[in-house]
């Protein structure tokens, strides 16, 4: 099965609301990265995490290495937050991507 599972696969939010994305994985990850892929395909680095929590503006992410999961919280969603969010835990020489969460923020 998939080594990295993201949920939900798709999500629609009203502007100004909050949400959480989840990433469960079955590899021994030492770090986790979260990316936003914009419509042009560019991958924007959101977070690079060792076990613990980081916050950046309206985004907050946690990596729990003992239970092998990570979360990304979006507060006060804006239209420009729309896109596909990828979680990618890393172990050894591989960064393994989940299948992504497609987020649409509506006015």
């Amino acid at each position: 099965g998939d080594k990295v599972k993201q949920s939900p696969s798709a999500l629609s939010l009203q502007e100004g609301t909050n949400s959480a994305l989840r990433c469960n994985f079955s590899i021994a990850a030492t770090t986790v990265q979260w990316f936003l892929q914009n419509p042009r395909g560019s991958l924007i680095n959101l977070f690079y995490l060792v076990p613990g929590t980081k916050e950046n503006g309206r985004l907050k992410s946690t990596f729990n290495s003992k239970e092998s999961y990570s979360t990304l919280h979006i507060r006060d969603a804006q239209l420009e937050d729309s896109g596909t969010y990828f979680c990618a835990p890393s172990g050894s020489w591989q960064l393994i991507f989940g299948s992504g969460t497609q987020l649409t923020v509506m006015p």
Partner: protein, 111 residues
């Protein structure tokens, strides 16, 4: 500051034709380099990685090959393209204990 440049930005190629995609990293010595592929609407799949000049490891076999002729250059190629090679190719770099940084990608359509 480090920069990563991929070329070309996009290609339309015929089945059976050769392909060469390039990636150059400036401002970082001896980075680890990676090639990823993304099918339309799909996730990213690691194809190759390299930790030093002249050395490349294959992660997934897709009838492609990679080479690292210089410290700052990573090349992805094939002699004969298949329809299944269509997609989005991304190059990335990292150093020890740093995050992965991706280039802007090459979009390939094989017809």
């Amino acid at each position: 500051a480090q920069t990563i440049h991929q070329w070309p930005v996009a290609e339309i190629k015929a089945v059976g034709s050769p392909l060469s995609l390039g990636c150059t990293i400036k401002g970082k010595s001896s980075p680890n380099l990676y090639w990823y592929w993304q099918a339309t609407g799909g996730t990213l799949q690691q194809l190759f990685y390299s930790i030093t000049v002249g050395q490349v490891e294959s992660v997934v076999q897709l009838n492609l090959s990679a080479s690292r002729p210089k410290d700052d250059q990573f090349i992805l190629s094939t002699e004969k393209l298949l329809l299944s090679h269509s997609g989005f190719y991304l190059c990335a770099w990292r150093t020890a204990n740093s995050d992965y940084t991706f280039g802007s990608g090459t979009r390939l359509l094989v017809i």
